[in-house]
């Protein structure tokens, strides 16, 4: 029996988890200590971010976390109150420097594409080109093909395009000037689900072919994990964690990040050495930050229903979603070794957890199941 995985960790063959190596990759964008307030509200509270040449970074966070503001600082639409921003080694914003948006060689694609409604698709793409006439027309055709659109679209008006086409034209327009850095501000969020995946794939492919350093801002964690080499999780105006998609998903730095990036099973646990004792037994934890009472985090796909598993659970109820079923399982309390003295703070366990399974028939309420846990857990210091 194989449990289904909804938010799969990235398959290593599709895109290797990227860990920056300062030895051979140069830093393209450097943001340090960026702060910004609007009318007394501090939106950015000191942000440091490094993006390597040619790589893709996703800044992911809930709305209001400050991610769009950070993007606008990098684009040059706003000036930071403090901190510096450097592009390709040149300081473009800081106490001593200010390079306006139009001189930054930064491409920008807004949420709704922001195509100029009074210009045709071709004129939109030509807008930033230094050349005119035949050379420009040829380049427009080239760019449209780059974003998988027929060059005949050049004559159309933006209003005649679908949302996905508008986004692709906006990308072609931004690529026309061969920017060093491409900023994408939630460019897929206005598209419906099917179109979103297709457009995202085209955009991602185009940008990696062009070798452009890219920053994507999104509130969709699945989009961030699938699109980027590096994910920066933003919360309350700060970057809570930066790392490869695999690392931030499997080893989130705190509980809020864990829950933001995907479904998480959080259990009370007792840390002893490198084992976390909980209702699921002893789970190995790499480099636990503390000992004693902790919260243990596992991803639902790490918990599998299996015959002969050592952990017992009883099905409480299920939610049927078609290809998969969410199964709520009542776990047994933490097994205590009768010969060992028990710490009064030690948790008792016996939580109800949610996991997913493909077989809806299997898990009727009341069924006794045996479970096993795959891989390591992550622990966070205890908080009430």
């Amino acid at each position: 029996m194989t449990p289904t995985i909804r938010r799969a960790a990235k398959a290593p063959t599709a895109k290797p988890a990227f860990i920056p190596d300062p030895g051979h990759v140069t830093d393209h964008l450097l943001v340090s200590g960026a702060r910004k307030s609007f009318g007394g509200t501090e939106v950015l509270k000191g942000v440091d971010l490094t993006v390597a040449q040619g790589r893709t970074t996703a800044i992911v966070g809930a709305s209001g976390s400050g991610k769009t503001t950070l993007l606008r600082l990098i684009a040059g639409f706003e000036a930071a109150d403090a901190g510096t921003i450097s592009l390709a080694g040149v300081e473009v914003a800081g106490p001593a420097a200010w390079v306006p948006a139009h001189k930054r060689s930064v491409g920008y694609v807004a949420q709704d594409g922001a195509l100029f409604p009074h210009l045709s698709v071709g004129q939109n793409i030509e807008f930033g080109l230094p050349v005119r006439g035949r050379a420009a027309a040829a380049r427009v055709g080239e760019l449209l093909e780059m974003v998988s659109m027929d060059p005949s679209y050049a004559r159309r008006r933006p209003s005649q395009l679908s949302g996905g086409q508008q986004q692709r034209v906006a990308l072609a327009r931004a690529l026309a000037r061969r920017p060093q850095l491409m900023l994408l501000d939630e460019p897929f969020s206005a598209l419906d689900a099917g179109l979103r995946v297709a457009t995202r794939r085209t955009v991602s492919q185009t940008l990696s072919d062009a070798g452009v350093t890219t920053i994507l801002v999104t509130h969709d964690q699945a989009e961030a994990l699938s699109f980027a080499d590096q994910v920066a999780v933003m919360r309350d105006g700060k970057l809570a964690q930066i790392g490869s998609p695999f690392v931030v998903y499997t080893r989130p730095s705190d509980r809020a990040t864990a829950e933001f990036l995907g479904d998480a099973v959080i259990l009370e646990a007792w840390m002893e050495g490198s084992l976390a004792l909980c209702s699921l037994g002893g789970i190995p934890v790499r480099r636990p930050p503390v000992q004693g009472r902790v919260h243990l985090m596992l991803r639902p796909e790490q918990i599998r229903i299996t015959e002969g598993g050592s952990i017992r659970g009883r099905v409480v109820d299920t939610d049927y979603f078609g290809p998969e079923t969410t199964v709520r399982i009542q776990l047994a309390p933490i097994a205590v070794d009768p010969g060992k003295p028990v710490d009064p703070h030690q948790p008792v366990g016996g939580e109800v957890i949610n996991i997913r399974h493909w077989n809806a028939m299997l898990a009727r309420p009341g069924t006794e199941l045996s479970l096993k846990v795959v891989g390591e857990g992550v622990v966070f210091p205890w908080s009430e």
Binding site: H102, A170, A174
Partner: protein, 532 residues
């Protein structure tokens, strides 16, 4: 004074632009240069109000007592109050009834009626008065004033109310019906409350027009504050008496604004639901079709038929003799010249404030907008009085020059430009400007190629409405026009004052012909504005 402060109040600045208020290296309340410019323009627009306040303050209590508390003022007070209190309710009832018939019933020919009910705005009130006086020479007094001004001004209620009705979410009426209300109950308990803002805005405009109108009432020798100030000014030039009357008139205007803002309450910026696809249910009229048609026909005959008939009658009676070529061409060219110069100047002056309102909403912008709202409600006679006195005493070099007249037009018609520019700039979101900057255009180039380009059609629409206002402006033009300057309105006035009704007819015809397309534009725009 403007048409459609009311419909436009619904064009609230979007929450999006509010959220992204601060931009670039400018301050939170907008680029410093634009803010300073807007403050200067607002200060300029406060001139008439400031003049009245200062004059009243300087006059001293004894003078005020002597000049204000006297039988003559009591008579003017009675006339003006009676005029407003009778005309405004009639206009509101006519406007709402007409709008409801046209927009919400299966009235035959409702598309044509929709235009016909707005059309009286193309006929200046003083031309309407001229037609009615030539039809009924004995017409006058309060009832004469009520008749003519009702027929001239009811479209000011009709247009915004129709715009709101045509866009009202039918779901609310359906909810009303599902809660057990009959059609009449739905109208009074669901529809009518939603028309409150539009109707109150329209009523305010009618009231301000009534206070400001000179020509229509002077034609039938019905005295209001405005006609009295004019006469006083003509006889004594700069008498304290004219100033005192003006301050009473201004007080009235301010009270009206206050009253209207109380009606609006916090709902001033209430938006109509944008997303809902409005497809309102129309009521089958059945046998009520006949009285409905008769009502609208009677209204149109009185408001359009009578003035057009009499203009044509005088044209025929006058024959070829009244087409005194050079004078007519002179007046037409002067009118076009002042109209274009005034429209251009007003649009340019309104731009900084419109820009701040859309791109940098905030406390400073709100104050500036409020100043503009109040100062633009000053009657033409007060604006003229203020500009004459200020230029004579402080800048004699420009006294009785075209500059002062154009400035007066800008003061009078700024809101028309402002309202349209606001709508236009809302069509050019900041994000487009930023997209252009990210594509390598310097901020100024981006602004010209994107923001200015996209708001140009709306700016042109606003300029056209200012032009319409100038073509039909009489009071301020009579007082401020340089020697030798004649406009269609002043020439019309000169002829009809000498009871040469035939001689005046060609000027009336030209004013109506020039106004008709602009009135249609205004009508079309109000529909669009309510939908945004």
């Amino acid at each position: 004074m403007s048409f459609f402060q009311s419909t436009t109040a619904e064009l609230a600045p979007g929450s999006k632009s509010r959220r992204r208020a601060a931009g670039g290296r400018g301050t939170r309340s907008g680029p410093l240069a634009v803010v300073v410019l807007s403050i200067l323009i607002a200060a300029f627009s406060l001139l008439p109000l400031g003049y009245v306040v200062v004059m009243t303050g300087n006059a001293g209590w004894d003078t005020i007592q002597k000049l204000v508390f006297r039988p003559r003022v009591g008579e003017l007070l009675f006339n003006t109050l009676a005029l407003v209190l009778i005309t405004v309710p009639i206009c509101v009832v006519l406007g709402i009834a007409g709008a409801w018939l046209v927009e919400r019933t299966r009235l035959r020919g409702n598309k044509a009626w929709a235009v016909l009910l707005a059309a009286p705005l193309a006929i200046p009130a003083f031309v309407n008065s001229y037609a009615w006086v030539s039809a009924i020479p004995s017409l006058g007094g309060v009832w004469g004033g009520v008749l003519v001004s009702t027929l001239s001004y009811f479209p000011l209620v009709y247009i915004p109310v129709a715009a709101v009705l045509s866009r009202m979410d039918p779901a609310l009426e359906q909810s009303g019906a599902s809660l057990g209300l009959g059609p009449w109950q739905v109208f009074f308990r669901v529809v009518l409350p939603q028309l409150r803002l539009a109707a109150a805005g329209g009523a305010l405009l009618v009231s301000l027009h009534l206070l400001a109108e000179y020509g229509a009432f002077a034609m039938m020798q019905f005295d209001t504050f405005t006609t009295a100030i004019y006469d006083q000014f003509r006889s004594t030039f700069n008498g304290a008496a004219a100033n005192m009357l003006a301050s009473v008139l201004v007080l009235f205007c301010l009270l009206l604004l206050l009253g209207e803002s109380k009606t609006r309450g916090n709902a001033r910026y209430a938006r109509l639901g944008g997303g809902a696809q409005a497809n309102p249910k129309r009521l089958a009229l059945g046998w009520y079709q006949v009285p409905g048609q008769l009502f609208l026909a009677a209204l149109s005959v009185l408001a359009l038929g009578v003035p057009l008939f009499h203009v044509v009658r005088w044209l025929i009676a006058g024959g070829a003799a009244i087409w005194t070529g050079s004078a007519l061409v002179h007046a037409l060219l002067q009118t076009l010249g002042y109209g274009l110069a005034g429209a251009l100047m007003t649009t340019v002056l309104a731009f900084p404030l419109a820009y701040l309102v859309i791109r940098h909403p905030g406390p400073v912008t709100k104050v500036l907008e409020g100043v503009n709202y109040i100062s633009s409600s000053m009657p033409g006679i007060v604006v003229a009085l203020a500009l004459v006195t200020i230029t004579v005493h402080n800048v004699p070099a420009v006294y009785q020059t075209a500059v002062v007249l154009v400035a007066a037009y800008a003061l009078l018609f700024m809101p028309r430009a402002l309202v349209n520019l606001r709508a236009g700039l809302a069509q050019a979101p900041k994000e487009l400007d930023e997209a252009a900057q990210a594509l390598g255009k310097a901020p100024l180039v981006a602004f010209v190629k994107v923001t200015l380009r996209l708001s140009a059609p709306a700016a042109a629409g606003g300029a056209a409405l200012v032009f319409l206002g100038i073509v039909n402006e009489l009071t301020a033009t009579l007082l401020l026009a340089p020697n030798g300057t004649t406009t269609l309105a002043t020439e019309f006035w000169a002829f009809s004052s000498e009871i040469d009704y035939a001689g005046a007819a060609p000027y009336a015809l030209l004013m109506i012909l020039l106004s008709a397309p602009m009135t249609y534009l205004l009508f079309a725009q109000s529909k669009k504005a309510a939908g945004q």
